[in-house]
Amino acid sequence: MQASHDAHAAHHDHAHDDHGHHGRAPGLMGWFTTTNHKDIGTMYLWFSFIMFLVGGAMSLVIRGELFAPGLQYVSPEFYNQMLTLHALIMVFGAIMPAFVGFANWMIPMMIGAPDMAFARMNNWSFWLLPPAGTLLVASLFVPGGAAGTGWTLYPPLAVQMGMGMDMAIFAVHILGMSSIMGSINIITTILNMRAPGMPLMRMPMFCWTWLVTAFLLIASMPILAGAVTMLLTDRHFGTSFFNAAGGGDPVLFQHIFWFFGHPEVYIIALPAFGVVSHVIPAFSRKHLFGYTSMVYAIAAIGLISFFVWAHHMYVTGIPLTGQLYFMYATLLIAVPTGVKVFNWVTTMWRGELTFETPMLFALGFLFLFTVGGLTGLVLAITAVDIQLQDTYYVVAHFHYVMVAGALFSAYAGAYYWLPKWTGFMYDEALGKLHFWTSIVFFNVAFFPQHFLGLAGMPRRIPDYATQFADFNVISSIGAFGFGFSQLIFLWVVLKNIKGGETAPAKPWDGATGLEWTLPSPAPYHTFEDAPVIKDEHLAAAH
């Protein structure tokens, strides 16, 4: 395949070679200026991992403080800042960029495109992230410290904070620009750059999940930008959006924020679904079961996610009818999500299963994401949530979906495609060690939090009543174990970049898709001329 591709390229005249065959410029400047989707994907992935370590370190500050009742290491103010930055950095700096990294690397290779539709803008989408990260981290060092409102940035507290809050606001603006440009790029690439012969309804599932995710981002990030802009003007220019004395309402912020915030959780979850939808079939040596229903489920989840936002606001005094509507609407999302879980399980049914690291992480995802989904259903029930709102039950719930869900899926994808990226097989034993330590410590850290929440321990408080002490000790031990386990992954990747067993073009015998027709590592430029699509390259068996 590649040989014929190169032969083909040689026939092209120089005018074309002009813009096709340049590599990356040498040195750091090369990374600053690159327009290559693989370079940019790599930068996204590294950036997200570094931010993951930074955010992780903050979470260990939190868990260290919570190791015992009483205040030991940090002040309540600093605790709040850690909590806020941890969440903002994990959500916007670690998980979201990780999946954009996958999108950059894989979507052009999956659909047979030479690059992303807008390669130069793609570079900007990435290089907006470091300034935003800088603003967030630097805000710790300004007078008054970083924002301490929690990642939800609720007024009136958000209106009263110091200049660290402004830095968080501008960071959100910049992150929003990055997401919107990235999403426009991804949508356009998928809609306009598929190789001839790849219909939408047979393109790889990861592309479908990103198509819907990009739509969610374009529709919801501007809403968040609007919300924080109103915060900014309320803070500095005397507007009254969230001030009852002027006729506004702090609850208004919650409506606007969660109109963004709930789609946001699917922005994190959908690409994770996409990755798992590649890994599970590959290691089951079967086609994904129910491709079409999967596509409709993704679309349905995306759509419904805009109409459930007030399930975060049951205790704000919204009317009973509102509570009922938002409860039923939220429960409705379980239907398409259930379809997906059913399809993944059915894909494995009577498959020839093997359990390499990507598959282990995908299964970890499947089990634990489902647990997080089920506790989500519990929380969706108004009468229950009135008890559980703002307790550790909520913390347990969203870490099951975001860590054991999204993060595990990202790991599954990373192990799955690493051979394609670096040309070497990773160390399977280390990979398995990474998986088993992660899943064990994850549950040690977060499962007890369900009990803490049910017993009434509030979240976002650095101190707690002594009857919560035992479970908190267990949780903190798990958190530190989980945190240090992640360094195994760093080790695996560094080792893998240096070398290892040479990876064949298709290291997984059950994998399908265009990306596996390319040699490993994938050449710098791929599919400059559209490949000929054969039936076996397409998703959804016919």
């Binding site: 005018a15 807008f118 603003l135 356009t188 501007p222 507007t239 006729g247 109109f259």
Partner: protein
């Protein structure tokens, strides 16, 4: 513009413009943070960032225009541009939706709620009649005048609608390869747009000097100035883009078949127009 299109999809060379843009935004963010918190020289930092951003915009868009005129963009690239502009405008629609949503929320929910008996302990005697600057201002008997739909707003509606018509007329000129009509149509559109901005500035001046209507005039002032202000900012952007297109048209850019930049700006202008109609109805009129 060259008549033959590149056979392959155009993938640009490495470029330092994105990096320049990111640097600019970082400087601007720091400048704004300093300025808003009354730290000396914050404004200067903000301006410096803005200057870098301007350089970037000239450099980057200049590059794109060169590539376009050099014939690098084949029809598939053109199609990509169309998709992207459509989605960009959609993102702008959603940005305005946040502010329209805030307006509907306060009018339908929070202001009536503040005037309801359940709030009488805190805000007794609040009438809840729109336009309002909120219970605190009402209790202090601070008066202001609200904007009326007739007068300047109506005139501005007519101006913007006519500018949509002249723009379409310019487009017809383009399609018929009638350069004079194209340039004249664009010129008229720009003129109408600038007049609109002028009127808007005058309206703001009146509000501040004679009507005691300010950004800080409670929720009415907040929603009025933020909605019309962001709209005015978008009109300014649109007018700037129109001016660029006008200059390019005078330089002989575009062909009847290939003129995506023109169409993109036209879509944007119509979008700004539609937002105005929404503003006219729900901000000025109702």
């Amino acid at each position: 513009m060259s008549t033959q299109s590149a056979s392959r999809y155009f993938v640009p060379q490495p470029s330092y413009w994105p990096l320049v843009g990111s640097t600019a935004l970082l400087i601007m963010a720091f400048g704004a943070v300093l300025l808003f918190n009354s730290v000396p020289h914050g404004g200067l930092v903000l301006l410096a960032g803005l200057a870098v951003l301007t350089v970037m915009l000239f450099g980057w868009f200049g590059r794109v225009i060169d590539e376009s005129e050099g014939g690098s963009y084949n029809l598939q690239v053109d199609q990509s541009f169309r998709w992207s502009m459509g989605w960009f405008i959609f993102s702008e629609v959603m940005f305005f939706a946040a502010f329209f949503g805030a307006l509907f929320y306060v009018r339908v929910l929070s202001v009536p709620e503040l005037a309801s008996p359940s709030q009488s302990l805190l805000w007794s005697g609040f009438s809840g009649v729109w336009p309002t600057a909120g219970p605190a201002a009402e209790a202090a008997k601070t008066e202001f005048h609200a904007m009326h739909a007739t007068g300047i707003p109506l005139l501005n509606t007519i101006l913007l609608l006519s500018s949509g018509a002249t723009l379409t007329w310019a487009h017809w000129g383009m399609l018929a390869n009638n350069r004079k009509q194209l340039v004249l149509g664009l010129f008229l559109t720009v003129a109408l747009g600038l007049t609109f901005i002028g009127f808007q500035a005058y309206e703001y001046f009146e509000a501040y000097t004679h009507m005691n209507l300010k950004l800080s005039t409670g929720i009415y002032g907040s929603t009025f100035f933020m909605l019309t202000g962001f709209h005015g900012f978008h009109v300014t952007l649109g007018a700037t883009m129109l001016i660029v297109i006008l200059i390019r048209s005078m330089k002989g850019h575009f062909t009847p078949e290939r003129h995506f930049a023109f169409e993109a700006v036209a879509w944007y202008w119509h979008f700004v127009d539609v937002v105005w109609l929404g503003l006219f109805v729900v901000v000025y009129w109702l």
